[in-house]
């Protein structure tokens, strides 16, 4: 079955520490991959996206993600988190033979503590 999985519902990280949020997908074709962030009572905003080329893509606010075809993953990373990074993060996929819509994972709520 085609799916997007974010295995961690909640992640707590100390301010200044590094961060990795996990995303795995299950699709037969190579997907377009996205990470979005949702701040409280707001809509989603895209952080970064990937389709081809260098498997490490840079996004806004120091975020990056690495695509792994062998592992079917697209994990989000940040070297040093700030309290303002506290939010819900969603991984999303779309692919060429099923329309332009994106399918989302269940989200990971990130809490950055002092």
């Amino acid at each position: 079955a085609q799916s997007v999985t974010q295995p961690d519902a909640r992640v707590t990280v100390s301010e200044g520490a590094s961060l990795q949020l996990r995303c795995k997908y299950s699709y037969s074709a190579t997907p377009y991959l996205f990470w979005y962030v949702q701040y409280p009572r707001q809509g989603l905003q895209m952080l970064l996206k990937y389709y081809s080329g260098d498997p490490v893509v840079q996004g806004v606010n120091g975020f990056e993600a690495e695509f792994s075809k062998s592992d079917s993953s697209f994990h989000l990373r940040k070297a040093s988190v700030h309290w303002s990074d506290s939010a819900v993060y969603f991984c999303a996929v779309s692919f060429a033979n099923s329309g332009t819509y994106q399918r989302f994972g269940t989200g990971t709520k990130l809490q950055v503590v002092p």
Partner: protein, 112 residues
Amino acid sequence: EAAVTQSPRNKVAVTGGKVTLSCNQTNNHNNMYWYRQDTGHGLRLIHYSYGAGSTEKGDIPDGYKASRPSQENFSLILELATPSQTSVYFCASGDGLGNTLYFGAGTRLSVL
């Protein structure tokens, strides 16, 4: 800056009543989408549209209708609202496969 505006921001409806959620975009995007967000489910696609006059069913269309009367406007209609439709609804616009989706701020719907 891309702009997607949803109205109302909050809505309380009665079971069996009709509810219309509205979405307007000023991005001139062809594609528009309605998702609902529930804890443990993330965002799930209800309906989408490729342009004025077009609507397509998403993954969970039952109990919902959609209308796209113009490039700018896309509505979600609950003809007979039920408590299971209590959720936060997001509208988004985009300009093709692989492109960024731009989201509205959401509509919080409670069906009592």
